[in-house]
């Protein structure tokens, strides 16, 4: 059954990419190729669910493709199935969304290219988790990277898109090369097949193990967006079309998580717990960095991109914790760590795709991507607003939505870890817990700011004032992840029971989970009953609404807001996105390193007549400045130095001949 599903999925993606280019009419190409993409995604989802439920894994080999590297080898196991189903789950709404979202590109080749690449991108993402040897993995990995790069630069006229694409492509290729090196070392002298590597990995020396782990973390971390190799992410995600941003954030970066888990927990032998500690620390730092930038950024899609960085950090707490616990011998907690990570992967995939789709609708409707230019969209785009609110609340990790459930699990994980292990972790886990709590709090700030500034109050520009609601297809597409947010929030056991199976397959049995509505975990002394909380919330809220409606003695009067004595309310007096984040920017000055530049425009008659004051405030991208700018500078320096070799003087060139001859003769003598 799942083989058929895979065949259908791949055939659909192939058909989608071909029809996008070949279909005679533009609208037809869009409809047909996106319908194919949708079918493919549903098939991928079916594949994933089927394997997760039945637990049947299978392999498929072809010697004809990629022959020199050992052929194509596919294997679906529960872990792979889970990630394939994430691709399907987020790809399906994105396909529907694109039907309406990209209608205006029907005329040109660009639209067709976007649809074709979208299908290729989906196919690549489906194949990455299924790869069972290095050749297939790397090939699918690069297809995914290249197609998403092309999608990022598919609108090169957009400000910053080429630069974003460049960052992305170079960093992803660096990751690819690290991956290649890691796999080659891991395989030692055996074939580059995962089963063989798994069997032989025990023979690796600890030093080689360390190098492999570092290379793999660099590679998968850069795909996932771990600090400090995250810098491409906040650039590339906003530049892509929104349905692609959604997929990149929801599914593609998750494949970095997949790779990490596959390599660290499946292919490699048990590692020293310190790697776990390092990974945990890395995750926490990533989460903090992501959330702090997401709270201060004013570009809507970049806010979301940084929030992806944040959530990736939270997800990586799981594997880090699991490594740590496995190292300390607590298999159940280790399993729980992975389950929580996978669960948050799912939750984030769902709510972040919802948010990116909503952001696309907003940018599409209001023709701006800056929060500062929005406002009041709730009136012009009521449905999008509701759906976005669901995503925002999930992002803020409040009950009864899915973000809260995984947040709660992460807290429980850290508390349980702190209770069950050696005092060596006495500082580490409490600090991690505190950091995660701070991240949760700041995420709430970011969520309120995002929704409040974009949708509430008065429109700040004409674009926002004349915004139009998204077409029905786009709204329908957003409805699916919104419902998923709610369902996963209310009945988390639905997914969690499957995830325990995934983790058991990795040799980390967690024990049977209670499949009831309440969430009861082993080694955790408390439980959560989301449905009951939701019912309580709904009941109390309805009562409150009824009270406010029935008790009042006078009719409701609509009037202008009190605005400190000013008569006419204007958007200029509204709080801006930058102002909203100002207190936090002050608190975390050391992190943001803000720069302020005040210019006062005075009347020529007297300096006391001030005509205007301009304040430009920005924060220094110090991570880029300290880590990447020197690298670029070094590359340029080296390039200029080697350029000096090419002076154009034929005499110098000729002199190199005898020089090379004598040098090689010397080397020859030395070898002898």
């Amino acid at each position: 059954m799942s083989e058929t599903a895979l065949a259908i999925a791949l055939a659909a993606f192939a058909a989608g990419s071909v029809s996008a280019m070949a279909w005679p009419s533009g609208p037809g190409a869009r409809r047909v190729s996106l319908a194919s993409a949708f079918v493919g995604c549903v098939a991928a989802l079916a594949l994933g669910i089927d394997v997760l439920q039945s637990g049947i894994s299978w392999t498929w080999r072809s010697g004809a493709l990629l022959q020199p590297l050992g052929g194509v080898s596919l294997r679906v196991d529960p872990l792979a199935a889970f990630f394939v189903s994430i691709v399907g789950l987020t790809g399906a709404p994105a396909s529907i969304y694109a039907l309406g979202y990209l209608r205006e590109l029907d005329g040109g080749v660009r639209g067709r290219a976007v649809h074709a690449l979208f299908n290729v991108f989906l196919a690549g993402m489906c194949l990455v988790p299924l790869a069972d040897n290095v050749a297939t993995f790397l090939f699918a990995w690069e297809v995914m990277a290249l197609s998403s790069y092309l999608l990022v630069v598919s609108d090169p006229k957009q400000e910053g898109a080429p630069a974003a694409g460049l960052w992305y492509l170079v960093m992803t290729h660096a990751g690819f090369l690290a991956l290649l090196a890691g796999f080659v070392i891991l395989a030692q002298d055996g074939p580059l097949e995962f089963p063989a590597m798994r069997a032989a990995a025990g023979a690796l020396t600890p030093a080689a193990q360390g190098i492999v782990v570092l290379l793999m973390l660099a590679a998968f971390g850069s795909k996932a967006g771990l600090v400090p190799v995250h810098v491409w992410l906040p650039r590339a995600h906003p530049a892509a079309p929104s349905h692609v941003s959604a997929l990149m954030s929801a599914a593609m970066v998750k494949l970095g998580v997949y790779g990490t888990i596959r390599v660290l927990f499946d292919l490699m032998p048990p590692l020293s717990p310190w790697w776990g500690g390092a990974l945990l620390a890395c995750g926490v730092v990533t989460a903090l960095t992501g959330v702090l930038y997401s709270v201060a950024e004013v570009h809507l899609k970049r806010v979301l991109a940084y929030s992806t960085v944040e959530n990736i950090g939270l997800i990586f707490v799981g594997p880090g914790f699991a490594l740590l616990m496995r190292g300390y011998g607590n298999v159940v907690l280790a399993a729980m760590g992975l389950v929580v990570a996978l669960f948050h992967t799912l939750n984030h995939a769902v709510f972040k795709s919802l948010l990116f789709l909503a952001a696309g609708a907003v940018v599409h409707g209001a023709r701006t991507s800056s929060l500062e230019a929005m406002g009041g969209l709730i009136k012009r785009m009521p449905h999008t607003a509701v759906l976005c609110l669901v995503g925002v609340l999930a992002l803020a990790a409040v009950p009864p939505l899915n973000g809260f459930t995984s947040e709660w699990l992460t807290f429980q994980l850290l508390v349980a870890g702190a209770r069950y292990t050696a005092p060596a972790l006495a500082i580490m886990l409490p600090l991690a817990l505190a950091a995660v709590a701070l991240v949760a709090g700041l995420a709430a700030v970011s969520a309120v700011r995002l929704f409040g500034i974009a949708f509430l109050a008065l429109p700040r520009t004409d674009g926002a004032r004349d915004a139009h609601e998204a077409p029905a297809t786009m709204r329908a597409a957003m409805l699916l992840p919104a419902l998923a947010c709610l369902i996963l929030g209310l009945v988390p056991t639905l997914a969690l029971t499957q995830l325990t199976a995934v983790v058991t397959e990795l040799g980390l049995p967690m024990g049977q989970l209670d499949t009831g509505l309440a969430l009861v975990l082993p080694l955790v002394g408390s439980q959560l009953w989301p449905v009951a909380i939701a019912a309580l919330l709904a009941g109390a809220g309805l009562v409150a609404a009824a009270v406010s409606r029935t008790s009042r003695g006078y009719p409701v009067r609509i009037d202008t807001a009190w605005n400190c004595g000013r008569i006419a309310q204007s958007p200029r007096s509204e709080y801006t996105a930058a102002a909203f984040a100002e207190p936090l920017k002050r608190v975390f000055t050391g992190f943001y390193q803000p720069t302020h530049e005040v210019t006062v425009d005075v009347h020529p008659v007297s300096p006391y007549f001030v005509r205007g004051i301009t304040l430009r405030s920005d924060f220094a991208p110090w991570m880029e400045q300290t880590l990447y700018v020197p690298l670029v500078r070094a590359a340029r320096w080296i390039s200029n130095q080697t350029g000096r070799l090419h002076t154009g003087s034929i005499h110098l060139y000729l002199a190199l001949l005898p020089a090379a001859l004598l040098a090689l003769l010397l080397i020859a003598r030395w070898i002898r």
Binding site: A655, L657, P658, L665
Partner: protein, 207 residues
């Protein structure tokens, strides 16, 4: 017999190296061309000696070709190139004469060092000239590198070819005839193509 053979080839080879060294302190292009012509004659002489005393009759043909091509046609082409060129005939090498000679001496020593294994393997009576041939190769390379004028460089390059031919003659009584003929063709074509390009190049380096 072998002693004579050895002495004659050594004489020819030494003359060739000497001619390469001689151009170091000459400052006029025609002198370069003349040196090359004489060197080619010396090469032809060595070829003839090897053909005669080494009993390789087809080398007479090679020697004749050397004499005709490198001793007559190529020098004429070079002289023609130089004659057509306006302006001064003086050469200003990148490395001055004293230094050039010192470096050439060093290269000759290096050639002896490099060719030691060769001398140890080859048992022909002509083997004594092998270091000289290698020295000629290195010195010609140095001429190519250090002379500023294009024609001087071409002469250096041709001397390099002579050096290699000498190496082949002394080391193995010449390479197979088909290869030898191919080499001659290449030299001729190469010089012709260079001749086509040189005026433009001289213009560029002058301007």
């Amino acid at each position: 017999m072998d002693a004579t053979f050895s002495r004659l080839t050594m004489t020819g080879a030494s003359a060739m190296l000497l001619l390469a060294l001689v151009v170091m302190w000459r400052h006029h292009v025609p002198a370069y061309v003349t040196a090359f012509r004489m060197q080619s004659v010396a090469l032809a002489f060595v070829g003839a000696v090897v053909a005669w005393l080494g009993d390789v009759p087809e080398l007479f043909l090679v020697a004749a070709l050397i004499l005709g091509l490198k001793g007559w046609i190529v020098p004429r082409i070079l002289a023609g190139m130089e004659a057509r060129r306006p302006g001064e005939r003086e050469l200003h090498p990148l490395v001055n004469t004293e230094m050039s000679l010192l470096i050439s001496g060093g290269l000759a020593v290096a050639a002896y060092e490099i060719s030691r294994p060769l001398a140890a393997v080859v048992s022909l009576p002509t083997r004594g000239g092998l270091p000289i041939a290698l020295a000629l190769i290195l010195v010609s390379l140095f001429i190519v590198v250090s002379r500023r004028r294009v024609i001087a460089q071409i002469v250096g390059f041709l001397m390099l070819e002579n050096g290699i031919a000498l190496l082949a003659l002394l080391g193995a009584y010449g390479v197979p005839l088909v290869v030898e003929l191919g080499v001659f063709l290449d030299v001729l074509l190469g010089v012709l193509v260079m001749q086509a390009l040189v005026p433009g190049i001289e213009e560029i380096s002058a301007g």
